[in-house]
Subunit: 664 residues, 2 copies
């Protein structure tokens, strides 16, 4: 079983092409040689060929011989993590339509945990438990796109993860100490909440962008007047999770970013046309980077220069139309998608999507532009050609940027300072040649890369070790698993002069983005600390019912509910029987008394679609109707003990009222 | 960033201990040295110490220096699979309370896919789509324990995966060609359906065991008469998924197995006492292996020697009480859990759970025992001591067995023939010494192993390459991710004389079991073939409405439903607008016309909790109520094209009836 791909040969890359165009020509040739090339992929979208008028790179069906995961190359890093040894980094992945967050170890790329957020999760009962139902509002699905952690002084403070729901316009927060959601905020006047970003100087605002323009308020008015539609840039307080204010703009907003000082937030705007059909959305050659001036907006909010939309009480600054002290529109080519701030805090890099360029905005020039000393476009200090379909950019600690190129399926490494110098050159030909030299490497990825991120890339502590290429298609890269194939997260060693592909990581669709965080920052607890909104809810109930959650076992009938307070300790539930009458609503509040790490219990009530998790020293609950007479066993579905299978009891549902349960 | 654990030293194992007890003493010493040892784990279960009266092995908090994944050792296998290269085996994992099946590549241990089964899956809309809702009956959760594939002539035929739901007594089938569930069968008169196993000579019956005894029928009668409770061994036709017959027995049944000839099925019975509390369930020193005689049962069914239970029409053979031509009870020590058939088909290995032994049953003797030529117990031909808390057994192709030992947290390798020879020795001391020599190795695993399986182990083609230890606790083996920690699936090279731990694989709780299948057997399609019950449903609707699903875009109002037949092709939905009136029930039936592998679309309707997947050439649908006026964008949540973000349209909900939608 010697693996024939287990070679030490280097992965073929494009050694410093003279220009991006030259590189594309090389790739196009490769596509022809391999037959069914990348070009065919976009044929299915009839518009694409016309739009880009060029060939797509191809190395499909050719497994990269590359240096593989699990082996170190001579001068670089290793993905190998021995059994029992720990990874160096935590990776936090958005789970896309799965509605969850995933926690991975990097560089082993092992998934350590799923954190249910907007989704129903049968394993833990998230979406079925009383607390999760309350904050989810009975919805079962969501679409997470971007995960970002709370910051202090330009780096992660290890307290919170924030994540958006594009489907229902929500922002959720995960407590890192317990890796669970504690708050979900509904964003009023918003549709298609897409980009989010927290402030970086402290846990201040978390900004969110509405991607979809709608009537304001969206209550049935103006439905056929798209010119009246608007979109919201929303500021949520990262501590309280309250919506503090919103800024109403005219265009579609996409990705979001913040500076390092707390002065600005950013949004790419890909539909400055205000189109509601595909063709109209792509009409303009330039769209915008919106820059929001936070101090000016806060002043307007304080001074009441705001409006209210519909029933919402959130103050809204109406900044539609022309540039103002609140919002500046920097023209950038065409339908910009990603915006990423480099670790020095000096440059925001905006990716063109329908232009082969990225635009570098010098953040230090923004004050002058707001004060009209210079034009908005004067803030652009470089615009190198990086490839077809640039989407997002990550950074190392050496002044280099790594842009994901969707259509070419490459990662382009380029030097920021060199691109800026090239842009200064007046002679167009000389400038173009210099800009091409700023392009250091193009590395094939497989296939159609979306987001890209790197270890600590979104902090001032970017360390230039690991680069993650989140590819949307895997096609032939894995054993065939049927029509629904995994995405392909490719781990790249970025520590040397050349990027090297180290590992292909299949993922359940559709991780949009990730952040990679050095492990010293993340310090969860192993035993539930019993704090936060969930425990406030349980303590209020217990107080009302005269119950000590960590001690008492008690059944209370009131307000039409049979409330069962029960404790468990491996391998037993306190009650071996619970007797109720058909039609009664039963609420089981289970407290796990085991004070041992990793010793979770849970409660599954057979034939009642009830299942939830209760970790060590945790309390959790669910409510259901006992709608049929008979004996229904409840059991602990977590293998907690050698006598785990015997950890169970009977829910006895009779037609007539019965006595209290026996102690087991 | 050199990994300090990246050594080539061998993992410490117990080299052929003279007896299991000696080995335990060594382990207990180790526990003392490392401080917080395994002994402490079971302290939390007050019964355990008393039950086993011995020490638990400990190497917690000591990362095994071992040979790691990603590296080959001198004489063995490698876990390294280079980027773009394929794994050698498919692994099919049950997902426990997550309700799903997972598909992994072995030996890389990368998760290639989740297949939602009994769970709500927000990524694909399983549980929300019209077809899945129909077969799930609006339930959202389930508890999968055992996955087994359909067989032909003693090995897998690559057609189906079967999986149980313990929570609601169901059996589901996954079509391997599309890796999707096509049928779910409700098992009548069953509670806590646990063990399942298909016949191995052909896709005949799939047998399922009820773990929980209940009144028969379970309609409110006999609730306080546990002596009248019973449990069902059920035969489901693997082709039609119909329940063909059931056998009613008196005891709790646990794991299930079948022989290779199609003559017998098996169930371990851990509660011969018929207890309903923990203490009573453990009273007897010996419980049973139930052996079901299929020909005799079929004859009784044909001859009408059956009863009916409640409203169920399934014929039931009442085999409660003493041995009969239908069921034989082989006494085995104490509370047996796993039963596994070796690849020769000669031996069924039954694990004691509360006994340190496994019992080897010679299947060739069963005919004589049924004919009362010998006693049931005479079928036991070996009973070696393997360690504390034996649960399950896997096999290589050299006559060795590998038993998972829960309390000791080891895998015990032993030789079947040597154990049988030792059992023949009359002198007890000599017999015991010989049995101890049949124990070849004990390998530490981390921690508390449940199921174990090996490549092709449950077929006649067992190949002795890879062994999977599914450990229930991971504790300190990974970066800390809070109170809910992953399980730990450990991959072991079993190809040499000594087992070697190669890789730690964290998993989301709680995988109970897995099978590892050589890749040549599994041949899914890449494009949806549009066959099976889901397409029968859509074709019936389309015929009724005069629609060609692969061509037509049409909106039909009937029976109070707005039925929207819509096609999509990247990057566009056919309709850019859908106009409905507030309160209307809307059903969107979406067909993906893209005939390109891996090109999935989907439909998310914002603010309506609607999201589902439509793979290439697939059709899928969901129904919802448009309950609020306004503009609600629907979008494709699958990154299908460079203009993916623009692939969207408007659901326009007005207070008054409106005209038909425009083409986009």
């Amino acid at each position: 079983m010697q693996n024939k791909h287990d070679k030490t040969a280097q992965h073929t890359t494009h050694p410093q092409p003279e220009s991006a165009t030259a590189s594309n020509a090389v790739q196009a040739e490769a596509a022809t040689e391999t037959g069914w090339g990348r070009r065919d992929f976009l044929k299915v979208g009839s518009l694409a060929a016309a739009l880009f008028g060029t060939q797509l790179a191809g190395c499909e069906k050719t497994p990269s011989p590359g240096l593989g995961g699990g082996q170190a190359h001579a001068s670089g890093l290793s993905t190998h993590v021995a059994p029992g040894a720990h990874d160096d980094y935590y990776g936090f992945w958005s789970g896309g339509q799965s509605g969850e967050i995933r926690v991975l170890g990097v560089p082993s790329m092992r998934e350590l945990k799923r954190i249910p957020v907007f989704n129903f999760d049968a394993a833990t009962g998230w979406g079925a438990t009383d607390f999760s139902k309350k904050i989810l509002g009975n919805r079962l699905s969501g679409d997470t796109h971007h995960v970002h952690l709370s910051y202090k002084d330009g780096t992660y403070d290890g307290r919170y993860i924030f994540v958006n729901d594009k489907a229902s316009a929500r922002l959720a927060r995960v407590r890192i100490d317990i890796m669970e959601v504690d708050r979900i905020t509904e964003l009023p006047n918003c549709a298609g909440t897409h980009g989010i970003f927290p402030q970086r100087h402290k846990t201040g605002y978390v900004f969110t962008n509405s991607e979809f323009r709608t009537p304001m308020p969206n209550d049935g008015r103006d439905m056929d007047s798209p010119e009246k539609y608007g979109a919201m840039h929303t500021a949520v307080d990262g501590e309280t999770m309250e919506v503090k204010w919103q800024v109403l703009v005219e265009g579609n907003m996409d990705l979001c970013a913040t500076d390092y000082q707390g002065k600005y937030s950013f949004a790419t705007c890909y539909n400055s046309e205000g189109g509601v059909t595909l063709e109209k959305m792509m009409a303009n050659e330039r769209d915008h980077l919106y820059v929001f001036n936070i101090a000016n907006i806060e002043r307007a909010v304080q001074n009441g220069k705001t409006i209210r939309i519909g029933n919402s009480t959130v103050p809204v600054v109406d900044a539609r139309g022309a540039d103002s002290e609140y919002v500046m529109r920097i023209p950038v080519p065409k339908s910009p998608h990603g915006v990423n701030m480099d670790p020095t805090g000096m440059y925001a890099v905006v990716s063109g999507k329908l232009s082969p360029t990225v635009s570098v905005v010098d953040v230090r020039k923004l004050d002058d532009a707001f004060q009209k000393k210079i034009k908005p476009r004067d803030c652009v200090v470089a615009e190198p050609e990086v490839g077809l379909g640039p989407l997002h950019t990550a950074f190392d600690n050496k002044g280099n940027a790594y842009t994901s190129i969707f259509i070419d399926s490459v990662v382009t490494k380029w030097n920021i300072a060199a691109a800026i110098e090239a842009y200064k050159i007046k002679d167009p030909k000389a400038s173009k040649e210099a800009a091409a030299k700023a392009i250091l490497q193009k590395l094939d990825v497989h296939y159609q890369i979306g987001h890209i991120n790197a270890s600590m890339s979104e902090t001032k502590e970017a360390d230039g070790k690991w680069l993650m290429a989140l590819c949307k298609f895997s096609k032939d890269r894995y054993l065939n698993v049927g029509p629904l194939m995994p995405e392909n997260d490719q781990l790249i060693d970025m520590s040397g002069d050349k990027m090297k592909l180290m590992h292909d990581g299949p993922t359940y669709p559709e991780p949009h983005d990730c952040v990679i965080v050095k492990k010293s920052i993340i310090q969860p607890t192993k035993i539930q600390p019993r704090t936060g909104p969930r425990f406030e809810m349980y303590e209020a109930w217990a107080k009302e019912d005269g119950v000590n959650l960590l001690k008492d076992n008690k059944i209370i009938r009131k307000n039409g509910i049979v409330r069962v307070y029960m404790t468990s300790q491996a391998p037993k539930f306190h009650f071996s029987e619970i007797r109720v009458t058909k039609g009664e609503k039963v609420q089981i509040i289970l407290t796990n008394l085991d004070n041992v790490e990793d010793l979770s219990h849970g409660l599954c009530v057979t034939h009642h679609d009830v299942n939830f998790l209760v970790n060590a020293r945790d309390t959790n609950s669910a409510t259901f109707v006992a709608d049929k007479p008979g004996v229904y066993w409840f059991y602990c579905p977590w293998f907690c003990h050698a006598l785990h299978l015997e950890m169970r009891g009977r829910l006895i549902v009779s037609d007539a009222p019965t006595s209290q349960p026996k102690k087991g």
